[in-house]
């Protein structure tokens, strides 16, 4: 059997396993979907009520679309981030971490399988939320550049795969608290990346930090495609830079993961379940 076929079977094992987990824990999925949906709606209603809150005339439609686009993009990117960062946490919860780490599957293969699932799952969930949200708000995307949006989304996914790998190290290092720590990483990204407000509203030092977050560029780029109809050609340099940054983050993530895996094997941390 060729090595490639074997590795692809290994990658598919993670896709199938994660799909089965969704099927078996469908109740959680419903709860999680309701939570994400109400979050997106609540944030968008802030935009809807902005005129009433401030007592001034504002372009409510633009604000609503601005917030909704941020909410949906964050929905997708955070799903990618969590699906990958939880690749170890799930094994800890179920107690199967030793079996998976003993199997002849390389970590990049493990990652490929998890990423394929994460992207598919992220797209389906985001479309489901979009489908419900448009029933509440009028989303005017008449002049939007959809092709550019998809390109930016895919380019941004690469970076979030890398960030997910970096965060996946935490449950490996800290069996009991690692999964919760990944929430803190996601919250920081949400704060600094201009998901619901322009980065320029942040204090100066946080704006500097925001420049290090790939999400800042993804969200800015996608907004300019959807709201301002910016052309794909104009966005291409940003998209390529994002892919480049993403590749570097993935490589860095894999290197760090490798070291941490060795440390976990040296110190006996694979055995303990969170």
């Amino acid at each position: 059997m060729s090595g490639f076929v074997r590795e692809m079977r290994g990658a598919y094992a993670f896709v199938e396993r994660n799909v089965n987990l969704i099927k078996r824990y469908w109740g959680w999925e419903v709860v999680w979907l309701i939570y994400s949906l109400t979050n997106a709606l609540a944030i968008t209603y802030i935009g809807n009520g902005m005129g009433m809150i401030s007592g001034q005339e504002i372009d409510t439609q633009y604000v609503v679309t601005y917030l909704l686009v941020g909410a949906l993009i964050w929905q997708y990117l955070s799903v990618i981030f969590y699906a990958i960062s939880e690749m170890i946490a799930w094994e800890r919860w179920e107690g199967t971490i030793e079996y998976t780490f003993m199997a002849p599957v390389s970590r990049p293969t493990h990652l490929v399988g998890t990423t394929l699932f994460a992207i598919g799952y992220g797209v389906v969930r985001t479309l489901a939320i979009l489908g419900i949200v448009v029933a509440f708000f009028h989303l005017d995307l008449g002049g939007a550049n959809i092709v550019g949006t998809v390109i930016m989304l895919l380019a941004g996914s690469v970076s979030f795969v890398g960030l997910g790998i970096l965060a996946a190290v935490l449950p490996l290092l800290y069996p009991e608290r690692g999964a919760q720590m990944t929430n803190a990483v996601a919250a920081i990204l949400l704060l600094i990346s201009g998901v619901y407000y322009p980065v320029e509203t942040l204090p100066g030092w946080l704006q500097v930090v925001a420049k290090a977050s790939p999400a800042t560029y993804v969200i800015k780029g996608m907004r300019s495609c959807l709201l301002d109809g910016r052309s794909t050609l104009e966005l291409l340099p940003t998209a390529l830079t994002l892919v480049g940054i993403g590749m570097v983050v993935i490589l860095l993530g894999l290197i760090i993961f490798r070291y941490v895996e060795r440390y976990a094997k040296r110190s006996g941390r694979l055995k303990r379940s969170g």
């Binding site: 079977r9 078996r24 107690g95 079996y99 998976t100 006996g268």
Partner: protein, 287 residues
Amino acid sequence: MSTQHSERTNALALDISEVRKVFFRRDRKKGKRGPFARRKKEEVVALEGIDLTVKRGEVFGVLGPNGSGKSTLIRLVSTLLLPDSGTMRVFGHDVESDPFPVKRMINRVSVDAAFFKKFSAIENLLYAARLYGLPASEAKPKMREIMKRLGLEEKTFDQPMEHMSRGMQQKVAVARGFLTSPILLLLDEPTTGLDPHSKRDVQAFVREIRETHGATVLLTTHDMGEADRLCDRIAIIDKGRIVALDTPEGLKNLVPSRNGEPTTMEDVFIELSGRTFEDAEAEEEGS
């Protein structure tokens, strides 16, 4: 590598030399107190100076009380732990520097059968098969055959694992271990907690696998009778050190028979360690 060394290596399924493994645990009683105080770490020697070889096709037992280092030894061979010093080779491949070929040759059944609890036995085994590169078309009939052979009823195959008894789960774990046709099978107390009937089923299957597939088996147990019945050779391990290594008969010959009764493995352990198995376990649990 010399020809002589190469021949020796090829004849050996497992070659462990001078392995030492230490863990550190935080001592709650010692050191500073308070949320930011770093507590002192205490060194716990799990294995010390382990030297053993297992021949191809052999069933090799590691017998010792709880906490004696048996599971640590299995985890080291399984590539789940790294030794602090010493070397381990599986069919000539170094476990630490060349783990991939080792992973393809081994599988492990542990005392605490870990599965995706909401998945069925079939789903869990299919996941395992894919991880080892087996196509589903080959794995599905094979897993059904092994589970039937282990005495599991076909109607249970599609039940969630969480609905199965401990004995049934352990049989699925054994099936998972055999599914990938490992040439070195690591059995870490595979029958602990099983009822006598299930225990016999698993033991019979181990014997069958060895006879029909020529697999090498490294079996840890604290069941003296099991070690005596299944193993070609046995290493008795206590406090992380091998205190004796021989065939079951050879070990029993070390101890003179008392009151005309045949010598048991328990007599051997008492003679070599100076305490009963129960005392040794109580001591390990208390430490």
